[in-house]
Amino acid sequence: MSAVVATGVGRVFGPAGGAGGTVALSDVDLTVAAGELVSLIGPSGCGKSTLLRLVADLDTPTSGSLTVFGKTPARARADQDYGIAFQQAGLLPWRSVQANVELPLQLHGASRAERAARAAELLALVGLTDFAGHRPDQLSGGMQQRVAIARALARWPRLLLMDEPFGALDEMTRERLQDELLKIRAETGAAVVFVTHSIPEAVYLSDRVVVMTPRPGRVVADLEIALGSPAERAARGIALREDPAFFERVSTVREALHAGEAGLPARDRGAAGAPDRAGR
């Protein structure tokens, strides 16, 4: 079953009915398969964060239909089908690193022992075992973000929603966390919707890159990346970042972005030289 299916989704802010309102999203179709990593990329105001918030049921579409694992987003949220991470780590400053990771488990009534075991597992996954007892303000921005990702994974979500999670980090930290995300992705098999405005980041991480443009926010291209499985990509690391095939995908995404900005028709789906997705 698809993780996310959006059909003709729109979101208008302001007066109901749309007259005089601000159109944040218009007629968006998007499908994210189970286990797939899809990036939403575009300039500010293109509605990529709005789309993510609709999927998370932090906001409600004004038109179209949206399902998450075949349910309404509200149902999926109540069932805790997704984990979420924002640009700010948003750790609770009065809790230790471990207690922060345990928060979603605690809120849903897991026992102390269960929580501790799961937190230990997750902190090992993000390489922060030694920092379990630290307070968030003792950690660097990158480490805080890793705690936030561990927290998002706490309840074994099948879908991970990430809103520019590495946006506030320096380039080196950013690339290291991208590698970690690929590794985590390979280990958990969760689908990921990843909002970013970095083209190389989108290409490096994604199975597919969805290009959006503003005024009104809409999808102008849906590009297959096909640089190997997440595990393969994580293993290649820097070699992949310097691979001509990588640069070719970056150029394709960039052209789609600029074409979208200029209002030109974007190139077709699968235009990044990957096999056609029509059979999916």
Binding site: A56, A78, D79, P93, L107, D137
Partner: protein
Amino acid sequence: MSRPTSRALPRGVPAGLAGVLALAAAWEAYKALLPDDGWVLGDTRILPRTTDVAMPHLWDMVARAAEPLTSAADAEPLWLATLRGAGSTLGVAAVGWLTGVTVGLLVAVLMARFLPARAGLLPWVVLSQTVPLIAIAPLVKRWGSRLEIGALDWQDWMSVAVIASYLAFFPVAVGALRGFTSPDHASTDVHLELFRAYGVGWWATFWRLRVPASVPFLLPALRLAAANAVVGTVVAEVSTGLRGGLGRMIVEFGASASADPAKQWSPIAGAALVGLAATGVVALLGAGLRRYQTGEEAR
């Protein structure tokens, strides 16, 4: 990073002592430099008299405190009577503080939970503090004396505690409301969105997010409430005539001030001690809650 309480305490002690010494020096300097009659402009006295009746020397006050309370043979020393009175006042103020804090927190929770309650209650909370304490104290005493709650026999000191709580609840209600709603105001914070994403209800969000986030706002409110409770207790002791506390002592000793001017300064100093003790207890509470004090203050 903020560790205010841990470092402020040792650093605050010498500063506090210096403040007390400066005050003592100012008192004696004023007394030494200005004429006995103060400073009179026309018919209006601008600055107070400096006679030994109006402003006894500090050492006279200390010496008086060491002497017996009255000329009776079995009278205890004044300082002991003052401490006894301070203990009584502190006890009543503590009951008033606890009651006020409880009521203040309940009102704040109500206002945080229900927006109509906030709109309806907040003006009344503010209005409540404009009622003069002197006016309501005798009323509370009279109402209290008519109360019969099961086996509870209403005592006069309970009326005093109620009046103290009336002053104490206000800063707590306002501070706690501000604290509980602080996650709503922090526009860059993602905490409320996270809790919504976790699909938990208002009360879980309240306990795990709003209550811990309120601590930096709550502690100053609790300290203010402690000071208010002490003032309220002393004033209510005066206006209800409750025996045993400092308020009554100040009034009684003040009546005989022309004959024994240094005597009334003992209970006045006692009231300051009670205030210090009350705010000290809150400071200890703050030290226990230190890990909740980052967030707001660190920014």
